[in-house]
C-alpha cells in the first residue's frame, strides 16, 4: 500500500482561478493524514473547464477524474477512497473515456492536461521533439513544402496559409531573419493560446525552432500579453530548461541550426495583437499599425524578413512534421484543412476547449459540447471569432465551422472563440460596446477607426434614443462602409462586423429604449 499514488491537479490559471492551488494543498495534507504517500503532478488543464478543479488519480483502469473538487471536499474524498479511484459523488470515471473528450480530435492539444508541462522528459515520452528532429533531417525548402502541403492556415484569425508565408521568408536573402510568435491573445472568448503556453510550452518552442530552421532565422520572440502572467512565467522557465537540454541555442540537437528565443511582455494594448503593431511594440515603440505592403515576411521586425505566426499555428507545426502533411491534410473540409481549437466561453454550461476537424457545425459546438447556457435560459446570440466577429442567432446554428462558409455568411471563424449569450442580452448594447471597444483600443493611426468608432457610439445612442431612427440607421450603415473599406487594419475594418450582424439578426433591439445607467468604458488619458 505504500507505493506513491500519482495524483494530478492542474496548474492552468483557469483551474487556479477556481481554487486548484487550495485543492492541491488540501490533498497533500489529507494524504499525509491517512498515511498514503502521493506523487502530486501539476498538469495542464484537460480543457473541460466547467469541471475545474479536476483532480485525476492514476489507477489500474486509467486516470480516474473527480470534479469539480473544492478544497473543503478533499478530506471526505480522500477518506472515501479517492486515492484508490473509488466511487464517490464527484467521480467522473476514466477521463480519457469521457465522451466530451473522447469524441474530439486533439492534434495540437494532444498532450495538454496529460503531462507535467515543465517536464522535458514527459515531453519526450509523449512524442515531443519528433517533428523537430525530422525537420532537421530535411532541407529547409522541404520543411516549407511539407507545411504548405499540409494546408495549415494561420490560427490567429486571418487564416493565411502558413507555408506560403514561410516560403516568402525563406526566399529572402538576409543575414538576419526573425520568427515572432504572436501570443497577444486579446480577443474576449479566446484562451487556447494561454492554455497551450501554460500546458505544453515545449510544443511552442519546438514549433518555433522548426520555423526558424525552415526559413533560416536565428532569433525568435514570443510576444505575450501582460494579462497572462502565468503563461509568461511558464514560457520563461521552459525556455531556460530547453537551453540546458540543447533544444535552443547553438547547434540545436547537434544540427546546423542556431536559434535563440526570447519572451517579451506586452503593455496591455489590444491592438498589439495586430501583427505589424506587435512588431512596432517589439521594437520598443508605440504599437501603431504599419501600412502593408511591405509585408512583414519581407520587411518585418527591424526591417528584416520575419515570420509572424500565432501560438496555435506554430504549435501545430511539430505534429505536421512528425506525422507528415498527408495525415493533417486528411482532416477538415474544403480549404479549411486540419483541426481547429474551438473555445467555448461566455454563458455556457460546459465551457472549454473542443479541438476537432473543421466542418463541425456551430450548433453541434454550442448545444452539443456546450450543453446550452449556464443560466439555463435559451441561447439568443453567439459571437464567433472575438470582439471583431459577428453575432449569430440560433437560425445560423447549422453553419459549418469553415473559413469560407463563415465568410459567405458575413461572419468569421477567426481564432475559433465562441461566446454564448442567453435571452437577456441586449444586442444594441453589444453593438455599442463593439464601437466603444474600438474607440478605446484603436491605435489612432487611421481616421476611419480612430474617429469612426467614436461617431459609431454616438450614432447608436441616437438610434436607441429614437432620434431620427431610420436616418441614423442609414448613417450607421454608411459609417460601417467607411470603416470596413478605409481602415488600415482589422481593428477598424472588422468592428462593423459585430455591429452590422447585430442590426441584421436582431433589429428589434435597436428600437427606442431608456438610456442605460451603465458605467461608461473609461478612455481617459489614453490615446
Amino acid at each position: 500500500m505504500n507505493t506513491p499514488v500519482t495524483v494530478f491537479v492542474p496548474r492552468d490559471s483557469a483551474a487556479r482561478s477556481v481554487g486548484a492551488d487550495d485543492v492541491a494543498d488540501a490533498l497533500l495534507r489529507a494524504a499525509k493524514r491517512v498515511g498514503r504517500p502521493i506523487n502530486l503532478v501539476r498538469n495542464g488543464s484537460r480543457g473541460m473547464l466547467w469541471l475545474e478543479p479536476l483532480v485525476e488519480v492514476a489507477t489500474a483502469e486509467g486516470r480516474v477524474g473527480y470534479g469539480p473538487v473544492a478544497a473543503s471536499d478533499v478530506d471526505d474524498l480522500v477518506t472515501g477512497g479517492l486515492l484508490d479511484g473509488e466511487e464517490l459523488p464527484q467521480r467522473l470515471g476514466v477521463v480519457d473515456d469521457l465522451p466530451w473528450l473522447a469524441s474530439q480530435n486533439r492534434v495540437t492539444f494532444t498532450r495538454i492536461g496529460i503531462t507535467d508541462p515543465l517536464s522535458p522528459d514527459d515531453y519526450l515520452r509523449h512524442g515531443g521533439m519528433v517533428g523537430l528532429v525530422r525537420a532537421l533531417q530535411n532541407s529547409p525548402a522541404e520543411v516549407v513544402a511539407e507545411v504548405t502541403q499540409s494546408g495549415l492556415r494561420g490560427r490567429g484569425g486571418a487564416g493565411f496559409p502558413a507555408g506560403i508565408k514561410w516560403k516568402t521568408v525563406l526566399d529572402c536573402v538576409d543575414d538576419l531573419k526573425f520568427v515572432c510568435c504572436n501570443a497577444d491573445e486579446g480577443d474576449s472568448g479566446t484562451f487556447a493560446d494561454r492554455m497551450l503556453m501554460e500546458g505544453d510550452p515545449y510544443l511552442l518552442i519546438e514549433g518555433m525552432a522548426i520555423a526558424a530552421y525552415a526559413v533560416g532565422a536565428t532569433e525568435g520572440y514570443i510576444y505575450i500579453r501582460s494579462e497572462y502572467p502565468d503563461a509568461v512565467q511558464t514560457m520563461r522557465t521552459a525556455i531556460e530548461i530547453a537551453y540546458k537540454r540543447g533544444w535552443l541555442g547553438d547547434s540545436v540537437f547537434g544540427s546546423s541550426l542556431d536559434f535563440d528565443l526570447h519572451v517579451r511582455v506586452g503593455g496591455g494594448a489590444y491592438i498589439c495583437g495586430e501583427e505589424t503593431s506587435m512588431l512596432e511594440s517589439l521594437e520598443g515603440k508605440r504599437g501603431m499599425v504599419r501600412a502593408k505592403p511591405p509585408i512583414p515576411a519581407i520587411h518585418g521586425l527591424f526591417g528584416k524578413p520575419t515570420v509572424v505566426n500565432n501560438v496555435l499555428t506554430l504549435a501545430t507545426v511539430p505534429t505536421v512534421m512528425a506525422n507528415g502533411a498527408e495525415a493533417y491534410q486528411q482532416l477538415g473540409v474544403e480549404r479549411s484543412r486540419g483541426t481547429q481549437v474551438f473555445q467555448l466561453g461566455g454563458n455556457i454550461k460546459n465551457g472549454g476547449i473542443v479541438e476537432t476537424a473543421f466542418g463541425i457545425t456551430l450548433g453541434e459546438l454550442v448545444d452539443g459540447y456546450g450543453g446550452g447556457t449556464r443560466s439555463g435560459r435559451p441561447v439568443r446570440a453567439v459571437q464567433v471569432g472575438g470582439p471583431l466577429g459577428a453575432y449569430l442567432p440560433r437560425a445560423q446554428f447549422d453553419l459549418p465551422m469553415d473559413y469560407e462558409a463563415f465568410a459567405a455568411a458575413d461572419a468569421m471563424v477567426g481564432h475559433g472563440g465562441i461566446v454564448v449569450f442567453d435571452e437577456t442580452v441586449d444586442m444594441a448594447s453589444q453593438a455599442r460596446f463593439a464601437m466603444e471597444f474600438c474607440a478605446a483600443e484603436s491605435c489612432g493611426k487611421c481616421t476611419p477607426c480612430r474617429v469612426g468608432a467614436v461617431r459609431g457610439v454616438e450614432v447608436i445612442d441616437r438610434i436607441t434614443a429614437g432620434e431620427h431612427r431610420d436616418e441614423n440607421l442609414a448613417l450607421l450603415e454608411d459609417l460601417c462602409d467607411v470603416m470596413t473599406e478605409g481602415s488600415l487594419c482589422a481593428m477598424g475594418g472588422l468592428t462593423p462586423l459585430p455591429v452590422r450582424s447585430a442590426i441584421t439578426h436582431f433589429p428589434d433591439d435597436f428600437s427606442v429604449k431608456t438610456p442605460s445607467a451603465k458605467e461608461p468604458i473609461t478612455t481617459e488619458g489614453k490615446p
Partner: protein, 151 residues
C-alpha cells in the same frame, strides 16, 4: 526617485533589441510606476527624445505615472464576462465606493477594467494583485478583497 536605480535597470536591459518596453516594465516593477522624473533619464540613457519615451509609456495601458493602491483589482469586461454578469461586479464595487480607473484616497485599492483575462469559460473573471479569479459573484469578490486587505 532613485536615478541610479533607473540607470542600473537600463544597463541590465540595454543589450536587448528594442529594449524600451522591457525597461519600462522593470522600472514599474521596481518603483511601482514610471514617474515623470524617470522619462528624461530613460531618454538620455537610450538616446531617444523625451517625447519618444513619453509617447511609448502613455500608449500602453499598463504603465502608470503614479503608484497603484496596495491592492489592484482588474475586472474583466470582455464579451464573455459580460454574458455572465460582469456588470454586476462593477456595480457592486461602485456601491462599495470603488470606481473604475480610480485609486482610493487611502491608497488601499486601485480598480481597473480589463478586456479579457483568458478565463472566458469561468467568468465573470478578475485579477486581484496579479492572481486570476473565476466564477465570481458579489460575495466572493468581497471576500477576496477582504482577504487581500488582511494580507
Amino acid at each position: 526617485m532613485n536615478v541610479a536605480l533607473v540607470r542600473d535597470i537600463v544597463a541590465t536591459h540595454k543589450g536587448q533589441r528594442g529594449a524600451l518596453l522591457p525597461i519600462l516594465h522593470a522600472v514599474q516593477a521596481a518603483l511601482g510606476c514610471v514617474p515623470a522624473e524617470a522619462i528624461p533619464v530613460l531618454a538620455d540613457e537610450l538616446n531617444l527624445s523625451r517625447a519618444d519615451v513619453h509617447g511609448v509609456m502613455t500608449f500602453y495601458h499598463d504603465f502608470r505615472s503614479a503608484p497603484a493602491g496596495r491592492t489592484t483589482v482588474r475586472i474583466c469586461r470582455g464579451e464573455a464576462c459580460q454574458a455572465v454578469g460582469a456588470q454586476r461586479l462593477v456595480d457592486h464595487l461602485h456601491q462599495s465606493g470603488l470606481k473604475l480607473g480610480e485609486t482610493t484616497l487611502d491608497g488601499s485599492f486601485t480598480v481597473e477594467q480589463v478586456f479579457c483575462l483568458g478565463n472566458c469559460a469561468l467568468g465573470p473573471a478578475a485579477q486581484v494583485n496579479g492572481r486570476l479569479e473565476g466564477r465570481l459573484d458579489e460575495q466572493r469578490l468581497s471576500a477576496i478583497l477582504d482577504e487581500a486587505v488582511a494580507q
